[in-house]
């Protein structure tokens, strides 16, 4: 196990370097920061001066080396747009994002797991049909549509919830539901499908024949065996929920990292993009590590050689 973890940490570091390099290269291919950041009426000389001042005239690899050397020391450079340390800009947005993403993940799991199990057990009944419809809506209703409709109903019509912005728990409910809808639907349908598989297996019959109560059979034995795909998907949704909740954040004017990243990308604010990618990279690497460990907990036969 220790060897697995050591190797894994090493590989994770390589992943972060890989992502940084790739993103650096892709941004470089996608356009020049000076072109975007200078005002429309700027002269070509001013644009060129900006380029030279910020080192954008240097060859790509030299720029990357310059960035990497500083990044190793924790310095991601100064945001071109905000004129502040890029990492500070990103970390400021992290708590709000973690709150919304965490709540949405919690909501989707709390909603999806009981319904997914129920749908499989009561296959073919009205409960199954109901979850089918919910899942369908969750997967195919555009995020902004759901967000704006919720907002019109709860925010404007009934005035139960604040329309947008951040503040208390109240501000999180509508964006939370909006963000959770897709993941919740996916987890629910996936769980139903893998539960259906598991329910036909022999070991459940064995468990039942031992006289275990049905609930124990379902939740302890069956769910445990059906959980692997669900756990995989939950972990996969962590990255998008932190960094890719752009539409939800825009619709609800929520001060999260998705909006920040979007602004940074539109402005070709390379330092902020890199700091963002670093933070998200760590979240992805960690969540996938945790999943790999969770697999072993769910199915002790799994070994990583």
């Amino acid at each position: 196990m220790a060897r697995f973890l050591t190797a894994r940490l090493l590989h994770s570091a390589l992943v972060i370097v890989g992502v940084s390099f790739l993103v650096f290269a892709l941004v470089h291919l996608g356009g020049d920061p000076a072109v975007v950041l200078m005002p429309l009426e700027a002269t070509p000389e001013e644009v060129e001066a900006f380029r030279v001042d910020n080192g954008f005239d240097k060859p790509f690899l030299v720029q990357f080396e310059h960035f990497a050397v500083k990044a190793v020391h924790g310095d991601f450079g100064t945001s071109l747009r905000h004129q502040r340390p890029a990492m500070e800009v990103v970390l400021e947005a992290l708590p709000a994002t973690a709150r919304l993403g965490g709540l949405a993940l919690l909501m989707s799991v709390l909603f999806a797991v009981p319904l997914g199990v129920l749908a499989a057990v009561k296959r073919g009944t009205w409960i199954d049909s109901l979850t089918n419809v919910l899942g369908l809506l969750g997967q195919s209703v555009p995020t902004f549509w759901l967000g704006l409709v919720l907002m019109m109903l709860f925010g404007v019509h009934w005035r139960l919830l604040p329309v947008s912005g951040a503040g208390g728990l109240k501000h999180l409910i509508m964006p939370g539901i909006t963000l959770a809808a897709y993941s919740g639907a996916l987890i629910m349908r996936l769980l139903r499908s893998s539960m259906l598989e598991v329910l036909t297996k022999d070991f459940l019959r064995t468990a039942r024949s031992k006289g275990l109560p049905e609930r124990t059979v379902l939740y302890k034995h069956a769910l445990r065996n059906a959980a692997i795909p669900v756990v995989t998907i939950i972990a996969l949704r962590i990255g998008p929920m932190l960094g890719g909740a752009l539409i939800t954040e825009e619709v609800f004017a929520y001060p999260g990292m998705g909006r920040l990243a979007m602004n940074a990308i539109s402005n070709r604010d390379v330092p902020v993009i890199q700091a963002f990618v670093f933070v998200i990279g760590i979240a992805i690497v960690l969540s996938n590590l945790i999943v790999d460990l969770a697999y072993v907990a769910l199915d002790p036969r799994i070994r990583y050689s």
């Binding site: 190797a7 590989h11 390589l14 992943v15 972060i16 890989g18 992502v19 790739l22 993103v23 290269a25 892709l26 941004v27 291919l29 996608g30 356009g31 369908l136 809506l137 997967q139 195919s140 209703v141 555009p142 902004f144 549509w145 704006l148 409709v149 897709y182 996916l186 349908r189 996936l190 499908s193 893998s194 259906l196 598989e197 036909t200 692997i228 795909p229 995989t232 998907i233 996969l236 990255g239 960094g243 890719g244 990243a261 990308i265 993009i273 963002f276 990618v277 998200i280 990279g281 992805i284 996938n288 999943v291 697999y295 769910l298 199915d299 036969r301 799994i302 070994r303 990583y304 050689s305």
Partner: protein, 279 residues
């Protein structure tokens, strides 16, 4: 099988819906009531026929430039279905293959493929898309490329997780002991077991790809206006949702119906093909 299909009304209905959508798209010039790009100021934002001020002439209403929404949806089916199916196929085939290799063979292959997946997840789609536009230029092929590239990870990780567990199951170990080849084991024992999960994810991705095509087209990557797509219509109608809901809702309903039909039909096919689940 055909008789079974008739017996199952839901499956039959869903097949009809799917066929209608596909055929309408294929024969769009023949079946659409209007030219999808014919704009006219006088009939902007007309509501659907059944609503007040609606007109039979434009059954589902008109959009912000006065174009017939039904006709645009019929034409839009072409690109949207193509993008949805192609992107799901590309990402699905790549992802399932890599996931199988990763999970079944393990060791350094597993590490390599999964860390590549981590890198892929870490790169924001928007950045990838902008680079593709800048380097490869616009085009439908590149849209599918970007969607496929960003989509494979979900299948890859999902398949690999399940294979890790199945690999150690009794029937696989006994098959191995009996001297079955890896290919045989994967084909006969592993793949059928993970198929249900793959199908669930594929239908989810299908809907998402159709919607996401529009955001890539906004970047100049894909389809140029005024060519209609469902995703593009939904996105264009976004700001009209409070005063002309039909502009973005109608193509949204088209996606819901298509996905519903695909789900029901997919379930039915699986039930027929997978004898385990039949009771």
């Amino acid at each position: 099988m055909f008789r079974k299909l008739i017996r199952n009304a839901g499956a039959l209905l869903s097949l009809i819906v799917l066929m209608t959508v596909v055929l309408a798209g294929l024969f769009a010039p023949l079946v659409s009531p209007h030219n999808p790009t014919d704009q006219q100021a006088a009939r902007r934002l007309m509501p659907p026929a059944w609503a007040e001020h609606g007109s039979q002439e434009y059954p589902l209403g008109t959009d912000q430039l006065g174009r017939d929404i039904l006709s645009r949806m019929i034409y839009g089916a072409r690109i949207s279905l193509l993008v949805g199916v192609a992107a799901v196929l590309v990402s699905g085939v790549v992802g399932v293959a890599l996931g199988l290799i990763s999970g079944y063979y393990g060791r350094w292959l597993d590490s390599l493929i999964m860390r590549l997946a981590d890198i892929q997840l870490g790169v924001p789609t928007l950045i990838l898309a902008l680079a593709v536009v800048a380097v490869l230029g616009p085009g439908l092929r590149n849209v599918i490329l970007v969607l496929g590239l960003t989509g494979w990870v979900t299948y890859g990780r999902l398949v690999r997780g399940e294979v890790l567990s199945i690999r150690q199951s009794e029937y696989v170990t006994s098959a191995r002991a009996l001297g079955s080849t890896d290919g045989h084991i994967i084909w006969r024992h592993v793949l059928p077991n993970i198929m249900p999960s793959i199908i669930v994810v594929a239908t989810f991705e299908f809907a998402r790809m159709i919607i996401n095509e529009a955001s890539l087209s906004f970047l100049g990557l894909g389809v140029t206006p005024p060519t209609p797509t469902w995703g593009g219509m939904i996105a264009d109608g976004r700001t009209y949702i409070y005063n002309a809901w039909w502009v973005s809702t109608m193509p949204g309903i088209a996606i819901v119906l298509t996905v519903l039909a695909a789900n029901v039909f997919g379930d039915w096919v699986r039930d027929v093909l997978d004898p385990q689940l039949r009771r």
